[in-house]
Amino acid sequence: MADAETSCSLRQELCKGLIRENPTLVGLLGMCPTLAVTQEAKNALGMGIATTLVLIGSNVVISLLRRVIPQAVKLPCYIVIIAGFVTMVEFLLHGFVPELYTALGTFLSLITVNCIILGRAELFACKHTVIRSALDGAGMGLGFTLALLLVGSVRELFGAGTLFGISVMEQNAVSVLTLAPGGFFVLGCVIALVNRIAHREPPRTAGCTGCPNAATCAASKGGCSQ
């Protein structure tokens, strides 16, 4: 029973970042890379994966060190850890996918100050176990990647008429979408769509699995009306 509950909530740690607590589309964090590198789906995907790697790494290390880091200097410590992982990812990309490295340019180094990463460190990793932090990082990273990929695909498909560089409808491109105003248009529409999906009317009766109050709740037998 306990195992089932743990694995269930572990899965939740991973899944919550995808849609329900999507850092970009629901939390509206990390807007800068979301708008800046999504002209092409390929760059968006690369940025998403790079950020995910940094996020998992920093979450794990910060979670490991959560009892060692003094409260007074925790932010500088987090930044140093994050910057370390960003540098590693930067070298990896430079070595193995130089094309992507050039395309992302300065935004790769700017992953360091991406507020999703610092936010997860501050809100989650410094309070939870290593496994949960890793899963949280992976989930949030995948959510960010998903959002970037969605915005990037729409912008590339309708703005340039290609998808991952393959020509689909270049004659019918609406090139304003690859420019900054188009980025805002598409991001706004995607946010509206995802929030519509994520925050549909909540189910009338929710089961008690996953409810934090299940143990102390009086109505824990038959589910509650919340």
Partner: protein, 308 residues
Amino acid sequence: MNLLYVSPSPHTSSTMTTSRIMACVLVALMPTAIAGCLNFGLRAALVLFVSTASAVVYEGLCRVLMKREQTILDGSAAVTGLLLGLNLPATIPLWQVMIGSFTAIVLVKQLFGGLGQNFANPAIVGRIVMLISFSSAMTTWQAPHSDAVVSATPLVSGNASYWDLFLGNTAGCIGETCAAAILLGGLYLCLRGIVQPVIPAAFLGTAALCSLAAGDDPLYQLLAGGMLLGAVFMATDYVTTPVTTGGKVIFGIGCGLLTFVIRQYGGYPEGVSFAILLMNLVTPLIDRLTVVRPFGAVRQKQEAKDHA
């Protein structure tokens, strides 16, 4: 026994409803639309029809999807669509027209809450999005009364006679070439009291003065390009222009100045739509600057300072 009835303001009422105003604007646009069709043929009529019809359809669909009161019949969507069509060259592909009118009606107007809530003139934003997206199609102009495609407006070529400019015998967007028809429509709007001539006068006056100062022919600058169409029909939209007369003067001067700057120094040959859009965006600020003091109100600044 006589009772004293006390009712809240406003105490005057008017028969001028939104749909009546829009109908008047449509009537005022008719000479321009007809002149455009006469100059550029059936294809121009088709563009105007597609832009108007698609704008009305988008408006209707949006209101249905958003579960709001249906506003097709107030005519504002038709005005926006027709204005957008008049701002396009006659040779533009029709699917591009539909994207422009989608931008205007759905993105700029309905997503912000419909008529009265739009932050900028929908037709202007539609045109600018099209100009940026389809720059070659938007700057390929057909010569009047023929199928020949020329690529320069009188603004660029600079060799049309005043008479040609006045009657619209030049290349350009469907509605911008015939100055006579635009002035006729503007006169009608002024006589019906729909618009005050303040903004067009300030707009055109400023632009003329600036061109005079820069050594250009002011009359040519006013007649060529889209300045008349913009000044009479686009810069007089109620929603996106200041309320007070003083504010309107500031708005008009700003439009004229920006148009001159863009035409003279900018990368685009025509700057009217960008100028009006920029001034639309600062309209709330102008409104705050030009708040009217209520009748009988005393300046309270000194008092407030004393209290502080």
